[in-house]
Symmetry: C2
Subunit: 322 residues, 2 copies
């Protein structure tokens, strides 16, 4: 069978794998730290090294298989037509022609799309949103990315920046976000925002096992720590998880009222919290969104943790080059 190399470029990790043409299998999956501190070119070289390893492994495992192209997902803003990443401070890239640099080095055709769009494409192709005509993903991590499928097509918008769901205002005069705006969803429900809200509550005197867990160094607190403590029954951590679910519920309800999708997929490590996240999130959505829109919509965790971006990048390649 033919394969497409999927490359998922993140500020923290790079993930590369060979995705079968039907999306059902991934071979030679590799994940490495991005190492952006070593410079823009270093990141490209590291990607190329991983890509060559994956291609070699795929050819060893399936001598009759061919790698026919490369799908690349990257943080944006970017220009899908020119294949250029315009500006990603996390990667140290400015106007980086990442698509053509990788295509030329590997001598394969390549595509470029936003990382959150790729996650949507993956979940829509073979994951939690498969078969949906209208779908939305929220990808929760350092930031909150989004992907939107409308009438069976990935939405790019007029200038390739659609689906920035993390920067929807949910509190007009709310918390300052990294983007400079006030009250973005991301300022409440991203990983760092969860840690920040927890630290503020501790500094205000809340009782919790969390300071002990991080040996008194609150700056070591992460969303993972908080979710772990919530699983162990820590009352402050449980409250933070509940509040996070509420904020996410506002964002999800807004997208449901605006787009009336059949499915909203929540991706990212935060979904490991399971019902502790999804029960209050759905309660908030029920309270806020229009009933005929809520009734038409499933809210589910992603089914491709760790590989949605790689699989979706390959899908974008197939859709643009098939």
């Amino acid at each position: 069978m033919d394969y497409v190399l999927g490359i998922d470029i993140g500020g923290t990790n790079l993930v590369v794998g060979a995705v079968s043409r039907d999306g059902q299998s991934v071979i030679g999956l590799h994940s490495e730290p991005t190492g952006a501190v070593h410079g823009a070119n270093h990141v490209i070289e590291r990607i190329l090294g991983m890509a060559r390893s994956t291609i070699a492994e795929t050819q060893a495992a399936l001598p009759s298989g061919r790698v026919i192209g490369v799908g690349i997902g990257s943080p944006g803003p970017l220009d899908t037509k020119r294949g250029v990443v315009i500006l990603t401070p996390n990667l140290g890239w400015t106007d980086m022609p990442v698509r053509d640099r990788i295509a030329e080095a590997l001598e394969l055709p390549a595509s470029l799309d936003n990382d959150a769009n790729c996650a949507m494409a993956g979940e829509w192709w073979v994951g939690a949103a498969r078969g949906a005509r209208h779908a939305v993903t929220f990808t929760l991590g350092t930031g909150i990315g989004g992907g939107i499928v409308v009438d069976g097509r990935l939405l790019h918008g007029a200038s390739d920046v659609a689906a920035e769901v993390g920067h929807m205002t949910i509190e007009t005069n709310g918390r300052r976000c990294g983007c400079g705006n006030d009250g973005c969803l991301e300022a409440y429900a991203s990983g760092p925002a969860i840690a920040r809200r927890t630290i503020e509550a501790l500094q205000a005197g809340a009782e919790s096992s969390l300071p002990m867990i991080v040996h008194g160094d609150l700056q070591q607190l992460t969303a993972q720590t908080v979710y772990g403590a919530a699983a162990a029954g820590d009352p402050l951590a449980l409250e933070v998880v509940q509040d996070t679910a509420k904020y996410l519920g506002v964002g999800v309800a807004n997208l449901i009222n605006i787009l009336n999708p059949e499915v909203v997929v929540i991706c990212g490590g935060v979904t490991k919290a399971g019902d502790r996240l999804f029960t209050p999130l759905k309660r908030e959505v029920n309270r806020r969104a229009f009933k005929p829109a809520v009734q038409a919509c499933r809210i589910v965790p992603g089914e491709l943790p760790g590989t949605a971006g790689v699989i979706g990048a390959a899908k974008v390649f197939l859709d643009t080059h098939a």
Copy 2:
């Protein structure tokens, strides 16, 4: 030339006209109070009377023209496929098969869509959004309706309730909205919300010419009164207009970040305020939305005041029956 009868059903007024096949002219335009207090059937009878007058006038003015069908726009929720309005308290309708009742009485094929979708279709066909591949309208009145065009098609979503932009939460713990949710855009920037915010400020002691204008009866205050007083320089009215523009700016910025459209069209009487509305609205959008999305997007008043709904209803008929 062939004509399509456009019918725009509102809680306050009914508007009917014959729209030429190219959307360039409207003949026999009539507007009458809806008269919903007289009952559900009365509204249908009134629509039929207006429709027959318009058809007669069109045939008198253009003996060679044919009326080929009827496009109907109505408040929702509704089912476009079955042609049924599910529930509109303002009209006293429950499961009203308005499309087939009108089609049978006039012996013409008919279509039904949401009134705000029809306004979008009109502005997109021959108004302020013509030619756009991605567009959004906000229709400001008693409520705030919306319409969305994605990739050159009107968005209906999974169950015909997409584009409820007025019920997007902009303040998580904000003002109670008529829909039961807290902090909807509509609870801040609809006509009644503008009046309510003004009355609250007056009751809190704000200086203004407004009480004199309504002879001391604050319940007579409307958004129109406030906009009129702002035009005359009343400081409280100016502040209310400015705040309204800010709230609308939050809603518009959210839609720009989510959909990345080429144009956002603001419809409704409120646009008569001109720069007093649009200057602070655009300032708020610039502050909040992503620069590459803001740069790609025009924010403009509707070009079809009073007829967008009629023209768009005709367009929906042509798109579904042509």
